[in-house]
């Protein structure tokens, strides 16, 4: 059986792509907010990555390399679905902890956060993420899904690391308020502390 070098390269590429394809789609979906656009972005990135596969350093992190290509292609195309969002205020530090305590949700459990967050399904978390303004949301997607470091996010976004730090800091605070709002709207939590959740 003879295998051409081209087929060999494709098989090698596929074997590296397979374990990261799912996370790549999820990142694409969270960027584009649309299943069809997400699939287009992953396919386009796959072709682009394969065509530059000879620049990939064997033994290095394929996942990071591929997600970087995908993220850069998204930023070039800027194909983003619009989501109607209501402006949302930044919350105080450790907002969910304070709100959960005020609502009497902490109890004596070893992992009270999981007790609170277990009330959320994936859609509720995505709905909360959707409420972040784009600049905070993109940094959050790269942080939570890409698993990028602050430096890597700064590199892809073309902004200083300090800006990434600030966006992640503020984004995660807004996300906590959004999570609490979504939980209240969906009846997942009851009770409200003196801070309230409304802006």
């Amino acid at each position: 059986m003879s295998v051409t070098p081209a087929l060999d390269a494709r098989r090698e590429f596929e074997s590296l792509l397979e374990p990261v394809a799912t996370v790549a789609y999820r990142v694409a979906y969270n960027f584009t907010r649309n299943a069809e656009d997400a699939m287009d972005l992953v396919q386009d990135s796959t072709v682009a990555a394969f065509r530059s596969f000879d620049t990939f350093q064997k033994g290095s992190n394929f996942r990071a390399w591929f997600l970087r290509i995908l993220t850069n292609r998204f930023y070039k195309s800027r194909k983003r679905g619009r989501v109607e969002t209501t402006p949302i205020d930044e919350a105080e530090d450790v907002f969910l902890y304070r709100q959960a305590a005020r609502a009497g949700l902490l109890g004596n459990d070893d992992d009270p956060a999981r007790l609170v967050l277990d009330r959320f399904d994936v859609e509720a978390v995505e709905a909360a993420l959707d409420r972040l303004p784009d600049e905070f949301r993109d940094a959050a997607v790269m942080y939570f899904l890409n698993d990028f470091s602050y430096d890597q996010i700064a590199d892809v976004l073309g902004v200083p690391v300090g800006t990434v730090r600030s966006r992640l800091h503020r984004g995660r605070k807004i996300l906590q308020r959004a999570l609490w709002d979504v939980a209240k709207q969906r009846g997942l939590v009851h009770g409200d502390g003196p801070e309230g959740a409304g802006a």
Binding site: V47, D93, V116, V122, Y150, V159, G162, T163, H169
Partner: protein, 89 residues
Amino acid sequence: MGTARRAPVPKDMSCAEVFARVQEYLDRELNPDEVEAVKAHLDYCPPCARGFVFEESVFETVRLKLAASACPEDLMARLRECLEACDES
């Protein structure tokens, strides 16, 4: 505002100052002096220590939930088709 330098590290941090650093602490993005100051506070302040554990768990849970969102079952098959077409062109 995004590029502003962080304030110097107070020797004895208040709870508010510690909470303001919780995310960077968990991300290992603080400098060694800040890490020591936060640790010193957490050692004698159980409410803040509980808040840090809670915060860490919140974002780990968010990460896990997002990583479990829907994905097309035929994703890899469709990507293989793209690669085949790419090979043939």
